[in-house]
């Protein structure tokens, strides 16, 4: 029972950590290595609004999500757009931005245990014989709702369909009047907001520490490689595979194997199916 419950919780946490990265790459083909930094900075913005300005928690969350969306859009508009299409430059530029943000936060004194966000609901409940706190349950509900929302958004709204069009065939979409750069800008803003939402849901479980930015980036890359770069549904499936594999490894092998499992899954994927589980376009390219 505990494997099922904590497997789902862990998987949803991985979904929340990686959806933003998958979305940005899927649409703009930009591997956003600043993803982890955007995750952490959202939490710090929320903390600052909550504690320094004394705003309401919900209002602080909304404002910080808007702020991170704007930051994501600015990063694309002023930096990434200039190197778009040059894979190595995209990686270097986005990683440099991420590094500057994370190390800047550290340099600015954001370290230690002082920075934390309150959980949304206090207390815990026993499911069967397994104790689970309410906040983790809420995270699962929000995670599932988010996946459903993204599916609905990309299938039933004009903007969502345009984003999917660019993701599927950029040239054909452009012939139909869809602006590729504008869609990439929207994707970057949306990806940043998804990273931020992940932080707001997951970081109240612990403390806001700069190091979590690096961990989140590692896990997001692992999930997206296994799921197939560019496929957000693949990312969801991969998150569940890694999430359950980690929990199983903790139960049957030992806790210190949980990171090894994720990295081993990347290596196996790259050997057996380099395009990942749902990386269909890449698969076609590989065949050619």
């Amino acid at each position: 029972m505990e494997i099922l419950i904590y497997g789902i919780i862990n998987s949803i946490a991985l979904v929340l950590m990686s959806l933003g990265f998958a979305l940005v790459y899927g649409i703009s083909r930009v591997p956003n290595f600043a993803h982890g930094a955007l995750y952490v900075i959202t939490a710090f913005i929320t903390w600052s609004l909550l504690n320094t300005l004394g705003l309401n928690y919900f209002l602080s969350i909304v404002l910080s999500l808007i702020a991170i969306g704007v930051i994501g859009a600015l990063i694309y508009q002023f930096v990434l757009i200039r190197v778009r299409g040059m894979a190595i430059s995209e990686i270097i530029a986005s990683y440099a931005i991420g590094l500057a943000i994370l190390e800047g936060l550290r340099w600015g004194g954001f370290k230690g245990l002082s920075y934390r966000l309150p959980v949304f609901i206090e207390g815990s409940v026993n499911i069967g014989d397994v104790p689970v706190d309410y906040h983790r349950l809420l995270t699962v509900v929000v995670g599932i709702a988010l996946v459903a929302f993204i599916w609905g958004f990309t299938h039933y709204t004009k903007l969502g369909l345009a984003l999917r069009g660019i993701a599927q065939d950029e040239r054909a979409a452009m012939m139909l009047g869809i602006d590729s750069d504008r869609m990439a800008l929207v994707a970057m803003a949306g990806g940043a907001m998804l990273a931020g939402l992940g932080a707001i849901l997951l970081l109240p479980l612990g403390n806001i520490v700069v190091e979590s930015g690096y961990n989140v980036l590692t896990m997001a890359i692992a999930v997206c490689i296994i799921g197939g770069l560019g496929s957000w549904m693949g990312a969801v499936l991969a998150a569940f595979i890694i999430g359950f594999a980690q929990i199983l490894s903790v139960v049957y092998l030992g806790s210190h194997y949980q990171m090894v499992v994720a990295l081993l899954a990347i290596i196996l994927t790259l050997i057996l199916k380099p395009s990942g589980l749902f990386g269909r376009q890449k698969e076609l390219e590989e065949r050619v």
Binding site: E2, Y6, N10, L113, S114, P131, S255, Q258
Partner: protein
């Protein structure tokens, strides 16, 4: 006109002499203390604060007397990042080398903080003949064992804080109290996947088992882990009564929050538990860390009356940094500077070999008791009584406060169990 000029000249000369005589110590070449510390982490920044507090106090009192002249201390800190996950040991070695060659450090005080990095730095210190006093983080017994094994090579290496074996002894004494008072007998061990923690957990497990304790399991978590639920459930399933924790990563506060939320009926007992050492722990866990025990390695890192100097240091640290001494590294780093000052003054020089000889003869009543080094391995001599040697401290969080519960000679309270554990 000439007379007026002469008077002005005399006045200026007199003023210059008065000013210069007042800052005599400051005019001498400073003795540079190179501090390789992982400054983004507790064991790094609290050591830096302890060192700087001692240096400020010493300099304000005229500095260090070296062969008849007063010289001030100067501090150079380089971030080794050795406590950060994924940062290779070579980074810390580069920091130590840069302090020696680039910053012209006369002595190394503080780190490296991670055991692996400190062990690797020993050869470097030997190569440059730089006296080093470890003051924080490094708990591995291998450090002083290496000095004992190859004294001529590693004689420049000292450690002024407690180490893992001493810690284990103190923790087991505390365990015995818990057995006697509450009938606890089953221990589950949770460690971080780093050298000192793995080693410490293993040693504690072995010794505890020999002493009749039941070890119900061991979990090793990678640095940076943010979910401990499965390990806690294992502990509960195995009917554990104490969870012994060896972790210096900030994420360990999550472990305590989960422990509280899941109401695990086992007392969390941190051998190394950086999160719980800090005064901000209560707020960081929203009070969920109550009843958590942890060792802060040496007295002075939590409030007690171990020696007359303890609270004097405690208050001075709080006044200067706006926070109470925060954990392992605070009092020992502060003391290291005073011990070094004492040794330099007795040696009358900053020559490494002579300072080593003087340090070996150190006998100083400090913040956490009588400070002496074992001349064979350069480890500070521990004791349960501050009059005999360096005393440790184990505290428990009770009602928002860090209450010292061990050793009895300096204890200010007794261990309590959480309500869901009361039989």
């Amino acid at each position: 006109m000439k007379a007026k000029f002469f008077k002005t000249f005399l006045f200026l000369a007199a003023a210059f002499l008065i000013i210069m005589s007042g800052t005599n110590a400051m005019a001498e070449k400073p003795i540079v203390l190179g501090c390789p510390l992982s400054t983004a982490f507790l064991y790094g920044w609290d050591a830096e604060r302890g060192i700087k507090l001692a240096v400020d106090e010493i300099n304000a009192n005229g500095g260090v007397t070296v062969g008849g002249e007063k010289r001030p201390f100067a501090v150079e800190v380089i971030d080794t990042r050795d406590l950060e996950p994924g940062v290779p040991v070579s980074e810390a070695l580069l920091a130590v080398e840069k302090l020696i060659l680039g910053k012209n450090a006369d002595f190394i005080v503080g780190g490296p903080v991670r055991s692996e990095a400190a062990l690797a730095a020993m050869s470097l210190l030997s190569k440059y003949k730089k006296v080093s006093i470890l003051t924080t983080g490094v708990l591995t017994p291998k450090y002083h064992a290496m000095v004992a094994q190859n004294y001529d090579k590693f004689k420049y290496c000292f450690r002024i804080h407690g180490e893992a074996k001493q810690l284990v002894g103190e923790i087991l004494s505390c365990f015995e109290d818990l057995k006697t008072k509450y009938g606890l007998n089953r221990v589950f061990i949770i460690v971080q996947d780093v050298s000192h923690a793995r080693g410490g957990g293993e040693v504690l497990g072995k010794i505890a088992a020999k002493k009749g304790w039941t070890i119900t399991g061991t979990e090793v978590y990678p640095t940076g882990t943010t979910d401990f639920s499965m390990g806690l459930l294992k502990a509960r399933k195995a009917k554990s009564e104490i969870i012994n924790i060896w972790m210096d990563m900030p994420e360990s506060s999550i472990l305590l929050k989960q422990w509280y939320d899941m109401k695990i009926p086992a007392l969390p007992f941190g051998s190394t538990l950086a999160a719980a050492e800090q005064p901000g722990f209560w707020k960081a866990t929203e009070g969920k860390g109550e009843y958590c025990l942890c060792s802060v390695v040496n007295a002075g890192n939590a409030p007690s009356e171990a020696t007359p100097w303890t609270m004097k240091f405690y208050d001075a640290y709080t006044k200067k940094w706006g926070v109470e001494p925060e954990g392992l590294g605070s009092s020992s780093s502060y003391m290291a500077v005073y011990v070094l000052k004492d040794a330099i003054e007795r040696a009358g020089t900053i020559d490494s070999d002579k300072v080593v000889a003087a340090l070996e003869k150190t006998d100083l009543m400090g913040v956490y008791g009588r400070i002496r080094f074992d001349p064979k391995n350069h480890q500070v001599i521990p004791a349960l009584d501050p009059k005999e040697g360096a005393v440790g401290t184990i505290l428990q969080w009770q009602d928002e406060k860090r209450v010292v519960v061990f050793p009895k000679s300096i204890a200010t309270g007794e261990i309590k169990l959480p309500p869901w554990m009361n039989k």
